[in-house]
């Protein structure tokens, strides 16, 4: 009985340890860290009010249809403040392929306690056809 408990504890610790760095989207994580991580940071938390957090972001949830376009084309003149002194924009990443965008979307949507439906390549292609 004690042996069984011991084995259970060992297995539980191993699974806990390995879980920490686990993502179902390793490619997405790589592209995200390379193209988005400088500003939104590896933990998705961004920088205070200047760079919005992607973690549990209502904006992210609301903009699911536009997400592929936002990643590719950025956001122009997003006003962080009512004053015009500081107009913020998110830079475009026009070189990203549809597959890279797909990977980034799925990684962002399912990391840092975000839970959004997984997107398919077909969906990404359709959404990219309707960019502003």
């Amino acid at each position: 009985m004690i042996k069984f408990i011991n084995i259970t504890i060992v297995l539980a610790s191993i699974s806990l340890l390995t879980q920490c760095d686990h993502t179902e989207y390793p490619s997405g994580k790589r592209y995200y860290n390379a193209y988005c991580g400088n500003c939104h940071m590896e933990d998705g938390k961004g920088l205070s009010k200047l760079i919005p957090s992607l973690e549990k972001s209502q904006y992210l949830i609301n903009q699911q249809d536009k997400l592929p376009c936002i990643i590719r084309n950025g956001i122009k003149s997003m006003v962080a403040d009512s004053s015009s002194e500081l107009q913020l924009s998110m830079p475009a990443n026009v070189k990203l392929s549809e597959i890279e965008i797909l990977n980034i979307c799925n990684y962002i949507n399912n990391s840092w306690s975000n839970q959004q439906a997984q997107m398919s390549l077909q969906e990404i292609k359709v959404k990219l056809n309707f960019c502003d």
């Binding site: 400088n38 940071m41 920088l47 200047l50 962080a80 500081l86 830079p91």
Partner: protein
């Protein structure tokens, strides 16, 4: 001869020595010394006359006697600045109650970074402007102190993201304008270790 008392004495001495508080590490003076009028003088940040985010004078008088951490940035910097600023915010949080400790961010892009724009930026990242100054000065002068005094490589480069190439170093300066330590502001772990360096300088100046 009975060795027991000697052994006991030896162990007591070892125990005593090891229980002592570690002596405060004296930080080195960084930078190359200069010869002025035949005398060797330590590398020192030159005096300057700039303005801050409130358009108030920002010069040696404001900093004199303060330990401060400097970095170089610009508000539209898309590459390393957000990461460096996040680490500056960690430093702000840790040392916010220490009097005579300041944070100083010099803008490399004075053309776009007006004091008002820097103030908005500062407010948006959550900077405590009672301890943190955002500095505006002539571009050539800022570039010169970056490269020559703070040893931060910085230059204009149309091909670089945002138009400037620079390093994200954090520089620790003592109350007399001497450079005493530095860390890579983009590396979280380096900054965590840097807290020890800051602590050592604060202890030294007590």
């Amino acid at each position: 001869m009975n060795v027991k008392p000697i052994l006991f004495l030896l162990f007591s001495i070892i125990a005593l020595l090891s229980s002592c508080k570690p002596t405060i590490q004296h930080l080195p003076y960084l930078g190359s010394n200069k010869i002025v009028n035949g005398e060797e003088v330590r590398h020192q940040i030159r005096s300057f006359n700039y303005i801050d985010q409130d358009s108030l004078a920002f010069n040696a008088d404001v900093l004199n006697g303060n330990i401060y951490l400097a970095d170089f940035f610009f508000t539209s910097c898309p590459s390393i600045c957000p990461r460096v600023m996040r680490n500056m915010l960690r430093v702000q949080k840790k040392y916010k109650d220490i009097p005579n400790f300041k944070l100083v961010s010099f803008s490399l892009d004075p053309k776009r970074d007006t004091p008002a724009r820097m103030k908005k930026y500062a407010e948006n990242i959550g900077a405590d402007l009672s301890m943190w100054h955002f500095v505006h000065g002539p571009k050539d002068s800022i570039m010169a102190i970056a490269n020559e005094d703070y040893y931060v490589p910085a230059f204009e480069d149309p091909d670089a993201p945002g138009g400037f190439d620079h390093s994200g170093k954090l520089l620790l300066i003592d109350g007399n304008g001497h450079l005493r330590g530095f860390a890579e502001g983009t590396e979280d772990e380096d900054v965590t270790e840097f807290f020890n360096t800051i602590d050592a300088l604060l202890a030294e100046s007590k």
